[in-house]
């Protein structure tokens, strides 16, 4: 049995989930995604755990998808000469992909995430699906999807930061520091690195002083407001746009989606290098 990529622990009223691939920047591969799923299911059934805390070991919270070990269910089909999957298969797959994040977003407990270092791409989606985000003031947030020829994976952006900021960040692929992220509403609190764990834990313990049932209702009540403003439909609509993009990736203009072309021909390090090069002058 391989070492788990995600650790689960209950401490008093809190369920703690820790991403544990520090050497890989906690990048999402199959093992991490699978272990994250089962840790969440476990936390959901532990009625004594009133609040869920998500955190990560190592210098970075999560750098996104693991380019060298892509989680197969987490990515649209890269361009290739494989036969075109039927539309119902694509829908099935996309729905599965989206559902994990929508599940976490609606997890029936308050969720608190504690972020240090880089929090990028799918890692940022993970953090955004939690209710309260604490970050160390040296943390950076960003989504390089567009530069990779992909689409950002969650519809929460406009609800959190408004459409102008969302476009600014997603079009340019720039990273946002913790203080700016807190100022625009992408996260809740930026705190000094050495106080991150203490602050997040104190906050979680404070929230857990309230009755667990009341907390579950309060969260549902607030999430329902976004549901009524269309976030549920937006999750599903995003799956369709992702499919359209999958199809589009098969007929790229020559300069597009270099990331996957390079990944296929020259491997993950070269692809990451090119991506970093493309984004280094982001405003």
């Amino acid at each position: 049995m391989a070492e788990p990529a995600v650790l689960y622990e209950r401490r008093g009223n809190l369920a703690l989930i820790t991403l544990d691939r520090p050497d890989a920047g906690n990048a999402l591969n199959n093992a991490l995604v699978r272990d994250l799923d089962s840790a969440l299911r476990r936390a959901e059934q532990e009625i004594a755990a009133k609040v869920l805390v998500v955190r990560a070991r190592g210098p970075d919270f999560c750098v996104g998808l693991d380019a060298g070990d892509m989680p197969v269910d987490e990515l649209v089909e890269p361009p290739g000469d494989k036969p075109l999957p039927a539309m119902d298969r694509l829908l099935d797959r996309e729905r599965r992909r989206m559902r994990r994040w929508e599940y976490l977003y609606n997890f029936p407990r308050p969720t608190i995430v504690q972020v240090q270092g880089r929090c990028l791409g799918m890692g940022l989606t993970l953090a955004m699906c939690c209710d309260i985000c604490f970050a160390s003031d040296d943390a950076t947030f960003g989504d390089p999807s567009v530069a990779m020829g992909l689409l950002p994976t969650n519809p929460l952006w406009t609800y959190y930061v408004g459409i102008k900021k969302a476009k600014d960040i997603l079009y340019t692929g720039r990273t946002v520091g913790a203080r700016e992220a807190a100022a625009i509403g992408l996260i809740n609190f930026a705190v000094p690195r050495e106080r991150l764990e203490t602050e997040a834990t104190h906050y979680a313990e404070g929230v857990a002083l309230s009755p667990g049932d009341g907390l579950a209702w309060a969260k549902e009540d607030l999430n329902l407001v976004l549901e009524a403003r269309g976030v549920g439909a937006a999750w599903r609509y995003l799956s369709q746009v992702q499919i359209a993009q999958t199809l589009q990736l098969r007929a790229l203009a020559p300069e597009e989606a270099r990331f996957f072309k390079t990944l296929e021909t020259r491997g993950p390090a070269a692809a990451q290098g090119e991506l970093a090069d493309l984004l280094k002058d982001a405003p």
Partner: protein, 311 residues
Amino acid sequence: MMPGLFGEYKFQYQVPQYQWVSYQDRAFDTTLYEKDGPIARLTFNRPEKRNAFNDRQFLDLLAGLHRAADDSEVRVVIIRGRGSAFSAGHDLSSPEGDETIPIDPKYAPNVRDYFNVERRRCGKHEDILHYPKVTIAQVHGYCIGAGEGVQASCDFTIAAEDAIFGVRGFGRLTLGLSYWNGSWPGASHRARTASTIPEMSGKDAAERGLITRAVPKERLEEETERFARHVARMPPNTLALLKESVNGALDVAGLGVAWRAHYEGHISYQYVRFRPWELNFYRTRRDKGLKGFIDTRHQTTTTETAPESGR
């Protein structure tokens, strides 16, 4: 680890539920799976229970949907029932610990237990609605409660004229939370009328626009097959996208909120204080047994029982 209410959940929420249930080593005995060219038929096979749902039957249904989704030849799925009925609802005599029937108060569930379980119960129907291939419910006899929920989640319902649709709601415990209200906003005023009527025939349901069509019982099989064959000849990619866009319109019109209001309705019902003349399923079952409950329900639903001065 503290065990959950039922230990490990049998139904899932993290992925569409039919995707969660494996079909490879499944016997498909409580729901039969047959393939006939582009048509897959899922047939509830518990006629002695009028195909009322316990967990096993629902899991077989979901596994069948999974199998049909994975089979690229299958273009349309027909869901139907063997014996005298399509489905009579929840099987109130389900084995201990089953999740599809409402949680027994003896477990002392709290609100979080309810969230965990209710969204799985309701999510099953939601996932059938958003299933990526065309689904047709072929309905005869009773189509009540959970069975009504399944047919309402299918794209088409073709029913025998004398089929009986309705919501019994455990003796009115959940009456009024019909899926019809949320599923077809265009017909909502008709649905509202309909949901105050405990039962209606297939013919009435078709006239109210709540189902696709009603046909004489002896032609039900043949008409459903004709319908399915026609759908199977349509371009499948276009159909898949059409279904997404139609469901998307329902979503934007508020279906997502309606589903959640529905399962929250279930949660709130645990706090219902019954008036002396009202029928309490759990108490009656405890005192008089299941058969005793059914007899009592029959008496209370066939007479107007609320007295003028009940308070």
